[in-house]
């Protein structure tokens, strides 16, 4: 329960509020304000500011888009499971969703990192980086391995990246396919997008694979940032940031 409130206490955050805005706003709320007196604060339709404040109120009443079913189910399951589980401090919803995959992802990343290092020996002039190197070490030259297809749904994007990092995408995620054999050539624009992603110092971004975002060509880039795997979807060509997500471990 919150402590008792001193009604005379000034607002410690208190940026200036236009007294007229306050009157107009309170008038819009009518009886919701206990100090409201009917007819005491007339708001006329001819008043531009009154109309703007009323329009703002209407816009603020529009709820954000509802969560998708997959996210809802995950969140509810996490909350119900947490009731029985001991407290381990705070972890984000994505981390809770990804926790079972995290250990497998780490193993897969180590294997991919070794593979990337081996193949890097044959090429010294490449600037491209793999998803493995992005999450485990130095820059290497590898083509994107997986076509992630449609990733405009954030929950689907997370699911596909989890699956891809587990290395089981082709077998367990029907809507993920091997990249075409020309992936290396087609990967030029994707690799170019690596430089468009701003990642923290000391981390490396890598191309996970081509995808589509609302049907338009895109590329998925990942980077490890401490306990997080950052996920970026960029348009190809153009490298415009379309979406970003993260997984926590």
């Amino acid at each position: 329960m919150n402590p008792p409130v001193d009604p005379t206490e000034p607002d410690p955050l208190a940026p200036a509020v236009d007294p007229r805005d306050e009157r107009l706003s309170a008038a819009l709320d009518g009886p919701a304000d206990p100090d409201f007196v009917a007819g005491s604060a007339p708001v006329t339709d001819t008043d531009d500011r009154a109309r703007a404040v009323a329009a703002a109120r209407d816009l603020l009443a529009v709820a954000p888009p509802p969560l998708d079913d997959l996210t809802r189910r995950r969140m509810l399951r996490n909350a119900l499971d947490a009731r029985e589980a001991p407290t381990h401090g705070r972890r984000g919803w994505a981390a809770r969703a990804a926790a079972p995959a995290a250990a497998a992802a780490c193993v897969a990343l180590v294997v991919l990192g070794v593979w990337a290092l081996i193949h890097a020996g044959g090429s010294s002039n490449s600037s491209s980086k793999s998803a493995a190197s992005a999450t485990s070490g130095p820059a290497t030259k590898t083509a994107a391995k997986i076509d992630l297809r449609e990733v405009s749904d954030p929950a689907v994007l997370l699911q596909k990246v989890e699956a891809a990092l587990r290395g089981t995408a082709q077998s367990s995620t029907p809507d993920v396919a091997p990249a075409p054999t020309t992936a290396t050539d087609a990967n030029g624009p994707a690799v170019a997008c690596l430089s468009a992603v701003r990642v923290p110092a000391g981390t490396h971004a890598g191309v996970l694979g081509p995808a589509t975002f609302h049907g338009a060509p895109a590329v998925v880039i990942v980077a490890r940032d401490g306990p997080r795997i950052l996920i970026y979807v960029l348009a190809t060509p153009g490298c415009r940031l379309l979406s970003s997500q993260f997984l926590r471990q």
């Binding site: 009443a61 969560l67 940031l241």
Partner: protein, 197 residues
């Protein structure tokens, strides 16, 4: 605001959930998940942070429902938990370095639908305000709480509730006013809260 049957259902589910009924708790959380998410989303102005805060709120409700004593409405308690989760997330966000700008909705804006544009306006206008102000606005305009309930949820005087709501609406009204004068409209980058590189 919820009508009487909704309130009775909430209180019934909350009572059963507090005594260990898992199905009742699930039903209760499912009933209010979207509203909790909406509050978190509006307070934080950022989709991923809102998901984190929503999850934290759901877990806090799940773990704390046995302490809900029914002296206040369940929704009042729930909104307090949700608002605290969102404000905690906002404080954490200030402290933690972010890898890059998270602008997922900007991509949607390229499609230039009115709904997305309006949502951007709301987020960007409110981003100029502290999260505590956004919380007051969200509790009033999204949750439909009256000033007295908001004062209880946020632990602030009613006069402060009034001024915070006015400030939030005023910021958005300013932005709407600039729609007809694009040169005066702040850029999305400038209007968004500063995030560490």
């Amino acid at each position: 605001m919820a009508d009487a049957p909704d309130l009775r259902l909430d209180e019934d589910l909350a009572r059963r959930a507090s005594s260990g009924d898992r199905a009742a708790l699930e039903a209760l959380l499912a009933r209010h998940l979207d509203q909790i998410h909406a509050i978190c989303r509006r307070v934080l102005g950022h989709p991923e942070d809102a998901l984190d805060a929503t999850q934290e709120a759901l877990i806090a409700i799940s773990r704390g429902i046995h302490r809900f004593d029914g002296r206040s409405r369940f929704t009042t308690w729930m909104y307090r938990v949700a608002t605290n989760a969102a404000l905690d997330e906002a404080r954490r966000r200030r402290r933690r370095p972010i890898a890059s700008e998270h602008l997922p909705e900007k991509a949607s804006a390229a499609d230039a639908t009115d709904a997305v544009d309006a949502r951007l306006d709301v987020d960007e206008a409110l981003a100029t305000l502290p999260p505590e102000f956004r919380a007051a606005v969200a509790l009033r305009d999204l949750a439909g709480l009256d000033y007295a309930e908001i004062a209880v949820v946020l632990g602030i005087p009613i006069g402060t509730v009034r001024s915070r709501i006015a400030r939030g609406r005023g910021a958005l009204a300013d932005r709407l006013g600039n729609r007809d004068h694009p040169s005066e409209r702040p850029t999305p980058r400038a209007a968004r809260p500063e995030r560490s590189p």
